[in-house]
Structure formats: C-alpha cells, structure tokens
C-alpha cells in the first residue's frame, strides 16, 4: 500500500540552522495496517507524515521514493497527492475552514481527488448524505449544518475533520497527534471514533501519538522513531503483549538514552 525507501529530509541545508530531520527512512505498510507511531520530541514523526503528504519534498537523494498503491508520488505536489490521503492535524484549526459552514466544509472534503468546475458547490443530495454522516458522530452537528465551523469546540472540530478526512475513503489516513490539543475526555472520544472509522472502513492509517498506552491499545502495528529513523517496529501478537515498560526499555537499548517527550504520558 505504502512503500517509503531511503528518505532523507534536511531543513535549512547549508545554513547554521541545518537540521537533518529524517535519515534513510524506510517503511512499508500493508493494506489495512493501522500503525501507531511514537518517539521523543523532534524524532521526526511529523516530518515523516508531512513528507508522505507532500507538504515538503524530500531531499533529492538517489533511490529515494514514496510509492502509494503502485503510484510513485515522490515528486507530486501536496494537492495532487490529496486524492489518496485523508489527514487530521494536531491543531483543530488546521483541518477546517472556520469562516465557512459545516456543510460547505464537508462539500470541500467530498470533492477530494475530484476535478472542480463550475457546478454548484454543494447539492441537495450531498446535504442529505452529510446529514446522515454527521448523525453518526452523535454530536448533534446534523442540526447545525449551516453554522460556521468557527463556532464549534476543538473536539467538535476534530470530529468533523476526521469525518471530512474519511468522507471519501482514503487509501491512507494520516493522523498527527490529532487528540493532543483536546481535554482528556474529548481526546478519548475522538480516539475511539478514530478506531471505529478505521476498522469500519478497513482503512490503512498512520497515527502519531504521545500516549504509549494508546499506541499499544490501538492498531495492529507500532513503530518507534528516534533521530529521524525507525528504531523499533512490532506488530501482531507481539505488539498486543507489549507493556509501557517494554517500550521504554526498547528505546534505551536502541538509542542509549532515556525516552524524553514532554508530552509523553507514561501512565
């Protein structure tokens, strides 16, 4: 499904601020994999997701490639790759247009990967579809479809973004700490909603989280990153048996340091 080979990313090359964020990164996902990603501050998790999404191009190194479902997207701009991907960001403001109505946002998402022309931006049938989809969220948003998204709470916005990202089934769902800005209860709800949608639609997903327990509880595979590479990759039965202590020990073994992430929840 996703095949990443020999990816490097250096920010501000040739300056004093030069920073290698990813180093010879390789990753291969099977269709239906739900992978959780953990790692310390600055390990390169967000950078990896951004490179897959095409926010930045990767360094021009021979042999670098990002292949999605048989299509080489390494050189494609972000908006072109969007036809394959749904994304939810850490910042609830990032995934929706605040000044536009809930239904207008959904109509935007409904056209992901489609050509946009001079047809009406939202049709009556679509409104009905959106109504049904919003109902499933159980937040009552189906009765406020023409309210501006800016009036929603962070949790409501993240739920909406999640719905938008998966409205057209994506080949790959990228979630970058999408519950980190929410209060614990809301975060839990959004996380179980994520789990529900990913399993219901059998999506292939990469989910960055700073919560080790969540990383173990959700998904069928877990990867740990450090200094721009994957240092631990575990799946199946072995993953289910993991405990937080195992992860900490693994990290020390692989990196020779203690796992430090100021937002990491150990308990």
């Amino acid at each position: 499904m996703l095949e990443i080979k020999h990816i490097y990313k250096t920010f501000n090359p040739g300056t004093v601020n030069e920073k290698r964020a990813l180093s010879n990164l390789g990753l291969s996902l099977d269709s239906g994999d739900f992978v959780t990603v953990i790692g310390g501050n600055g390990a390169g998790k967000s950078t990896m997701l951004n490179l897959i999404a095409g926010v930045y191009a990767c360094d021009n190194v021979a042999g670098s490639s990002i292949v999605l479902d048989g299509t080489d997207v390494t050189k494609e701009p972000e908006y072109r790759r969007a036809r394959f991907m749904g994304r939810v960001f850490q910042d609830p403001m990032r995934g929706t247009a605040a000044g536009m109505e809930i239904q207008e946002n959904l109509a935007m998402a409904y056209r992901r990967g489609k050509r946009r022309g001079l047809r009406w931006g939202i049709t009556r049938q679509e409104k009905e579809i959106f109504h049904e989809k919003l109902k499933v969220l159980g937040l009552g948003l189906e009765n406020r479809m023409s309210s501006k998204v800016g009036l929603l709470s962070g949790g409501q916005r993240q739920a909406l973004t999640l719905l938008m990202a998966t409205l057209r089934k994506p080949k790959l769902l990228l979630l970058d700490e999408h519950t980190a800005a929410l209060d614990p209860k809301t975060a839990k709800n959004i996380l179980s909603l994520t789990h529900e949608i990913v399993t219901r639609d059998s999506l292939t997903a990469l989910m960055v989280t700073h919560n080790m327990r969540d990383a173990i509880r959700y998904g069928n595979r877990l990867i740990m990153m450090n200094e721009g590479s994957i240092i631990f990759d575990v799946s199946g039965e072995e993953k289910k048996k993991l405990a937080v202590e195992d992860l900490l020990k693994k990290f020390e073994e692989a990196s020779g340091a203690e796992l430090a992430n100021d937002r990491m929840l150990l308990a």
Binding site: P77, G113, G121
Partner: protein, 308 residues
Amino acid sequence: MSFLLTMGNAAAQGVLWSIMTLGVYLTFRLLNFADMTVDGSFATGGAVAAVAVNGGMNPLLALLLSLLAGIACGAVTGFLNTKLKIPALLAGILTMIALYSINIRILGGPNVSLVNVRTVFSAVPGSPMGSTFLVGALTAALMVALMYWFFGTEVGSSIRATGDNEYMVRAFGVNTNTMVMIGLMISNGLVALSGGLIAENQGYGDANMGIGTIVIGLASLIIGEVLFGNRFNFVYKLCSVIVGSILYRMIIGFVLFLGLESSDLKLLTAIVVAVALSVPVIVKKFPGKAAAVNTVEKSEDAGADASK
C-alpha cells in the same frame, strides 16, 4: 450647484465606483490577499476604454476590453506571487508601478480626452445623472449576480476556502496557487471595468486616475461593513459593499460642498479608513458597547442559517 444635485451626482458616481469595491472585497475579504495592483489596474481600465472609444470602438466593447486588460493585470500579480514567490503586498505594488508606465504607453501621453464620441452613458437617454445611475446600477446588479453564482460553484467555494484556510484546501486536493490566480484575475477585471466606466463617464482617461483607488475601495468596504455588520448571506454582503461605495462618494461630495479642495480628499479618505479600522479598538475600550458587538457576532451565526 444645489446640495441635492451634488449628492445625487455623488451617489451616481458611487455606483460606478462600487464595481471596483466589489473587486477589492474579493481579494481583501474572500481571498485574504492584500492586493495593491488596484491603483494600476483601475487606470489601465480607464486608459483602455478611453483609447478604444476614441478609436471608434463600440463603447460597450471598449468596456469589455477594459475588463480583459484588468484580468491580465491580475494575472501578472498572480504570477509574481504564486510562481516567483514574491510576497502578496510587494507583488501587487510591483505590478501597480509597472502599470503606471504601461498606462502612459496605452494613452500615448498622460491623458486622453473623449471628444464628441458616443459612450455607454450617451447611449442612454435622460440627464447625465440619470444615465450614470442606470448604467451603474445595471452593471452592479449584473456583477453581484455573477459573483453570487460564481462563489457558489465548486471553484468559487474553493477560492473562498483558500482565503480561509489554505492548508485545509490543499489537503483536499485544490491547487491553492490556481485559486489565488483566478481570484486576482477576476478582482482586477472588476476594478478595470470600473475604471473604464469612470473614464467614459468623466470623458477622459488619465494615467493618474488610479492613485488612491485601493484606499477608496477599502474605505467603501469598511463603511459598508460598519453600517451593515458582518451578517446574513452573501448577496447581503455584496450589497453592503455597493452601499458603502455610494456612501463614501456622498461623504466626499458633502465635504466638497462644504468648501474643501479636491486635493484634500486623499487626506480625508485616509482619515475615514483609519477611523473605521479603529472602531473595534475603540469599542473594546468601552465595555458597554462591546456587548453590542457580541450580539452582532452571535447574529452572524443565526444569519448563517439563512444563507445559501
């Protein structure tokens, strides 16, 4: 001249200028792009129409030519910004400055007078004021209708969304550069059309006629917003833009009537914009009034339900 006649003429002028304000509304409010091209493209529209009409072209076709010229101006700013990555403000200023030279080339000198030629206004029977009103109102109504339609389409929605949150729009597969380009082209097309109308109406095209247009546009926009609030649907907003433009001209007409020199107008316009922009700051200082602003914001939500 009687007071009423002065005011009537000012209002009629305002309708012609409102087409320009619609363009400024598009970039500044919908696309969130501070486009300074306007001062140049307005004069380009005027220059093109003046030269074309003098050359014997049908005055209506001449306006179409103005519109196309404006679209080209917008494309230049769009190219500088999206392809060459020049910041929005500077990209617009560069085009504006370049256009000053180009406009003199088009005019073949600093200005061109229309002598004894047919214009869209002379084609309409009635007083000059009446024909100005009629032509202006028809054009404005047509533009409002077109904008209402266009910004409801898929591309139009994408342009609005680009102005709101470009990250989100890219994540959903829209080339935001293209949206910025289209927005700038339409906006400057409207501005140049307005310039063409003004040139035909006043009977000359002038390389300097665009100076301060952007500030006039902003002043008109803000006057409309302050009076009408940020409520209700899109058509209502477009209409508030037009009323704002008319009121701006009437304010100017009024102070001229009081005896100010027309060279004082730029100062006055700048003051109007500065005062209007500082309204939120002033309101914050007086908590009693802040409540009123909150109600406006709430009714914006209520109003959103009424919008399309």
